[in-house]
Symmetry: none
Subunit: 401 residues, 2 copies
């Protein structure tokens, strides 16, 4: 990895266009002898792989299974161990909240507490989502803020919600206000630093008030908050790489992640074709595009091998429209593997292809894990993808004389 100071002095703005296509959860594991990519008919991906240099990327580090936050940060060129995105922030991004550097977020559960202050059910009997919405509406109406801090509550699924604290001087070095286990006493948030104590008092004041007004809503008669976090103080891609970056993604979480690193998030439709149409419409306005295709991950997490194969084939259909725009550098890869076999994200490296005028074709003919493993790029960490794209776009100056 290039040290940050060195990086800034090497980048140069040019007209070349870079496109990064992220197939969420692309990589897989064999079931009946083939991975999802091996089972899929992906002639267009195979064709562009044949004209590209290929390899395998580790999302984070050997053996590490990433969440969407760190895996995307790495693909965007940021060390995911240096810049951490808290749980609260990820949940807030997931429901489409636009956060400023002042905002403090947390994940929340409605829960059941008894007269002695003991948590008897951390999930309040998994109340229905509809009931959650009603309670959140009630709470929001009852308590709009606390000590000058504006507080907003956003319902999630079943007993879950996201909470947003907006005000000056809020800190996020707080220990969870959640005992994490039934049968323990409810506990308030605790400030780690001296400066975080005021934030803890506000949070705990809110929890007490909420518990008072929630009495009639048994079993949802208290709230548990965890994952207090603010957005990391992260340099923008414009600042760090001299790029004018834009994001095309349909899910709020990925749009939010892109916004965190200063990408312009473009309005787009739900279908793959809509996303590619958006790329075409804005192709002249930016010099870096992040194009996110979500489906292979979602169906991989359901353990649905056949549907994942189909999702990959659907992505294959739109590849020619992307190539038709003649990007100077096109990268197609995944943020992490989501093998149907595991029904979850995994640590396995993902195939990557880099298509540009300045690559050495490597004889790879198929965009699969096994073929790309023999590619000219070998195996390398995802955080090095951006430097490689910048180099191929002739956007990096020579280091030293």
């Amino acid at each position: 990895m290039i040290p940050e100071e060195a990086f800034r002095s090497l980048t140069v703005q040019t007209d070349s266009k870079l496109v990064m296509v992220v197939i969420d959860g692309a990589g897989g594991l064999p079931m009946r002898g083939k991975t999802e990519l091996e089972a899929a008919k992906i002639p267009n991906l195979d064709r562009v792989a044949s004209k590209s240099v290929c390899g395998l990327i580790d999302p984070i580090s050997t053996g590490v299974t990433p969440g969407s936050g760190p895996s995307h940060l790495a693909l965007f060129g940021y060390d995911p161990f240096q810049y951490e995105i808290g749980r609260g922030v990820m949940e807030a991004l997931g429901i489409g909240l636009k956060l400023t550097r002042d905002d403090l977020t947390a994940r929340g559960n409605f829960a059941t507490i008894n007269q002695d202050g003991i948590i008897t059910d951390r999930r309040a009997g998994r109340i229905p989502t509809e009931r959650n919405r009603e309670i959140c509406g009630f709470l929001q109406n009852e308590i709009k803020g606390f000590e000058g801090v504006r507080i907003s509550i956003y319902p999630g699924k079943e007993h879950r919600f996201v909470i947003l604290f907006q005000g000056q001087g809020l800190k996020d070095d707080l220990i969870d206000a959640d005992p994490q286990k039934d049968g323990l006493k409810a506990k308030g948030a605790e400030g780690v630093s001296q400066e975080a104590r005021r934030t803890a008092e506000i949070v705990n004041g809110y929890i007490r008030r909420a518990t008072e007004v929630l009495k009639p809503f048994y079993p949802a008669n208290t709230i548990l908050l965890r994952g207090f976090s603010k957005i990391p103080d992260i340099p923008t891609m414009a600042d760090r790489f001299r790029l004018r970056p834009a994001a095309i993604a349909t899910y709020p979480m990925y749009r939010g992640l892109a916004r965190l690193v200063g990408m312009e998030v473009l309005e787009t439709g739900e279908a793959l074709r809509d996303e590619v149409a958006t790329l075409k419409n804005y192709f002249n306005r930016y010099d870096f595009f992040y194009l996110h295709f979500k489906k292979p991950d979602s169906v991989g997490e359901d353990g649905n091998f056949k549907t994942k194969v189909k999702a990959l084939e659907e992505i294959d259909w739109v590849v020619p429209s992307i190539l038709a725009l003649k990007p100077d550098v096109l990268v197609i890869t995944g943020d992490h593997s989501t093998p149907s076999l595991l029904k979850s994200h995994s640590w396995h490296p993902n195939p990557i292809l880099v298509y540009s005028k300045y690559i050495r074709p490597d004889g790879v003919r198929h965009f699969t894990e096994k073929d790309c493993q023999r590619g000219g790029l070998g195996r390398f960490p995802a955080v090095d993808v951006i430097p490689l794209m910048l180099a191929n776009g002739l956007k990096l100056k020579k280091f030293g004389a």
Copy 2:
């Protein structure tokens, strides 16, 4: 990379002989389907590759195009981000100056300044090299030093020169005495640290004196200085690796770089055969040899594919004479790629072969980018070549018990 302290405790001096052959700018990009190495007839390199373990090395880090300084430091086993070699030092080495740790160097331009102190031409109309020599001779005669510091000026091409300040306590944390743009006021050097202020005063005093005496030499009536630097405080290869290293190179810059890390620089002739004869003559006297072949880089920078192919073929002819010396470990690689297609250094990894008794042959039959990519070493950073050579020479002890 092995941490420095660990390294020192692992190395052990033995009689085994290590030879590192650096083909400057070896790697390329395909033109009409083949890279320069693929187009070249290199049966001897292919034969030794067949008996070696092969791979690809990144000069610095994925995507980074290096200058000769950092790429050689990495090959010599030094982290190029830790040890930076300034522009002034590189220029001074390039013209063959032997620098001590006290010497301060800078690159210079003759330039044109108007009555109001505005730079009207940073290159003084690109005066002919011959005129440059005359002016340097005159200046050297007029000003031999300043406040006890000896100052020497060495002409380069056209308007360029190298300047050397020799004295006690000179610092190199100076901001350039060069506005970098026509139409701006000439500015003096600025010391960054308190200790550098005296150095800045000496530099600026010299610039003022030079500008006074250069009046008759319009358009070359002032000087601009940039890239102030001293040689980095770098441990020698003897100290760090317990090697007795020698360098065989014809160009002053590479001889200078070798001297920076404490190699003995051997006198040699211009031809490849002369360099190999020097290797033979001194083979018993040292245990590490750096053998540098410059031509593929020079002709690659001219964009001359055919001449680069020929330069590689010429190197192939001398390979048997190197093998005949029976080195215990022979490495053949490049410091960076210089694709004729790009007419410049590039970020692409270079093929490497490691020939020793203790390698696992990997089925690679050709010394090309594509074949070595399938080699047993995979792709790894150049800074790890020295540890690998030491290991194969049985010069590294077991780490831990």
